[in-house]
Symmetry: C2
Subunit: 401 residues, 2 copies
């Protein structure tokens, strides 16, 4: 199949592009590299030394013989995205191309507006491009488990049957997102559901959990194919962050009580889930929702697992419960369904010692690139800064520790 991967230069998008190419699909990456630009804004960088897009696809062609085309541009630019969709006539569009960090959206008003405008309008443009030029194309859209929040009932996959005053209906699962970013994904989900209803479009919304890891079988094949690894407080996901903290002797920063439970998955499962969705498309008119994660952990559990794994590698890590910069329940019920991707054939990589070892070893390998100034939270949910954030002077990545 011909697949456009929007955001194919990113943390999930790049390994997905390689995985789909390896699986025999014709892949076109669409990206504006804004994630690399944000590294400059935040004065940080990927732990792993990633190469630029040109080198990436060149290296992939050398090691695999497969070509991945690149279209550079912005989904907000209708002229650009409509032209790309019209020219390539994709069978599927995988849409990762959104601002994806909750803390980034919470920096101040400007970042909140940027996130919602960028994500919502970019996605609207994708919907209209599909409708206009490739109405049979299947949209595979990345959402997040964070759209659901932490309700006191089981979380279903997108829809819930409600019995109320003696009548029944199956309705969209109520959403309680926890950041301007998570809200943007809820807005997207509603917009896509509507497009499916009025136009007969077909779409799969993948409510993804927190991704950890960085390596896939494809990214390992050449150093130029290495995937990005974010460890700082804005874009770094919790397990990746803990491994870095352990590697540099920084206490693992558990926010609040640490009883927050979330769904997690290995990045090797992310790429496989996308493949499963692409190869088993939704029906015309169907807005299909999958919960894309493989295990549930509390933040405390993860911290303890990292401490133990670090101990086996011979260095000591400790846990520090710091004030929670987020507004969220720190002890709560959590039980989310995750059967639909398993039914399609997903065979999960569960979190275990070997993955933790691998993460810690990556952290140790690149410890010279770690800037310890960017691991502590600086964005506070309660502040609601409307004014422009005063950035600290860009920190130089420490040359040695």
């Amino acid at each position: 199949m011909k697949v456009l991967v929007l955001g194919g230069d990113g943390y999930c998008g790049w390994p997905t592009s390689l995985h789909l190419s390896d699986a025999g699909h014709e892949v076109v990456i669409v990206d504006n590299c804004v994630r690399r630009q944000i590294d400059h804004e935040l004065a940080t960088q990927s732990l792993t030394p990633i190469t630029d897009m040109k080198q990436r696809v060149k290296a992939w062609q050398e090691v695999s013989g497969q070509t991945i085309a690149v279209e550079f541009g912005d989904l907000l630019d209708w002229e650009f995205i409509s032209d790309v969709v019209r020219r390539h006539q994709p069978d599927a569009i995988v849409h990762f191309a959104e601002q994806r960090a909750a803390p980034y959206s919470m920096i101040d008003r400007r970042h909140a507006v940027y996130t919602q405008h960028n994500n919502v309008v970019g996605n609207l443009n994708v919907l209209f491009a599909i409708q206009e030029f490739v109405p049979e194309c299947h949209l595979v859209k990345l959402g997040t488990m964070g759209e659901y929040g932490q309700p006191n009932i089981d979380i279903e996959e997108g829809y819930i049957e409600i019995e109320h005053n003696g009548r029944k209906d199956v309705l969209p699962y109520p959403k309680q997102p926890g950041s301007w970013y998570h809200l943007s994904k809820v807005h997207d989900s509603h917009n896509i559901a509507f497009a499916c209803r009025i136009w007969g479009m077909r779409a799969t919304d993948l409510n993804q959990g927190v991704v950890y890891g960085t390596v896939t079988p494809q990214t390992e094949r050449d150093p130029r194919l290495i995937n990005r690894f974010d460890y700082e407080e804005v874009f770094g996901t919790v397990l990746n962050r803990f491994c870095i903290q352990a590697a540099i002797g920084h206490p693992l920063t558990v926010y609040g009580k640490g009883g927050q439970i979330r769904g997690f998955l290995d990045i090797r499962d992310t790429v496989r889930c996308i493949e499963l969705a692409v190869e088993n498309p939704a029906e015309f008119g169907e807005f299909r929702v999958f919960n894309q994660f493989t295990e549930e952990f509390s933040v405390n559990q993860l911290a303890e697992m990292v401490v133990e794994a670090a101990g086996k590698l011979g260095f000591e890590a400790r846990i520090d419960n710091i004030p929670n910069p987020r507004v969220e329940k720190e002890e709560h019920y959590y039980n989310a369904k995750r059967t639909k991707l398993l039914d399609l054939g997903l065979q999960p990589h569960y979190l275990g010692d070997s993955l933790l070892d691998s993460l810690l070893n990556i952290a140790l390998e690149y410890r010279d690139r770690i800037d310890p100034d960017v691991v502590m939270p600086s964005v506070d949910w309660r502040e609601g800064r409307a004014k422009q954030r005063v950035h600290k002077a860009p920190a130089q990545p420490s040359a040695s520790l």
Copy 2:
């Protein structure tokens, strides 16, 4: 109380501004008059000859002795709205200032994007301005009953208790909005609920039904205070449209089977509901939702009532079921709760002969201003035009009929 009325020049905003001023509140209108600009775009005009903002507030001062200040500007302009909120330090902000027509949002991609960008980002700016400059201010936000769609269970006021797999929670009522416009209101609701949760903001979301009528006790006091009356297919609400059609001898255009049921209210109740919300604010941290309508009717019922009222006035009206340009259920269950505003003291004006007579008489009075070319639907929900709409040559309002 000092009240900012955002969108105070519009169909609901203007009579609300007068009503609040009459009730002794200090009113400041904030508007960019974009609704008047859209009349030029669509080559149409208010049935009633409305005066400009300057004349309006001057006339109000002459007849009432009350001053209404006007701030001209756009909510998308952060410098503007933050400055207005900071200078005026309002106790309440009533927010009508959004693109409010479902058909307008469905014209093409550009209008869909305009609607969601304008409404969502404008509202975000209002939230951040409140948080930054007047954190105790109560936000009264206009939503729509159309956010709920047509579920097969009773519609509650914003929240629903769900029992699921032996556990219970009270969650946001699931939304199934039916246009890009209605979706923008759903996005706003989620954003405001979040602001209340993280910042302790207080807000009331008024999910308003379809408004009919144009006259309030204040707008009657001087011809310069007259309210706008939209009768065309894009901004005209169904009952207002039917009355115009009857007045010019055009068949009443029922979309599809006409079994679509909606909540309706008289504009004299709109202004009173706003007053009740303003004078009985939500608690800090509370996101309060009221369903703001007084009666339910099917489109067929309304058409029949207009035919009957027209007959009593001595002219014959007939009904024409035309293909439905919208994608919606034409026969469905509908039972929506509406007790919270009644509990606060709302005394509804129910739809009766006198109101229909008044509407028909307004239609007859201004029939020379009616353009019969703009009453038939031209915007189709199924088309999903991504390309720019080709406008028909602007029609001249007919000088006589």
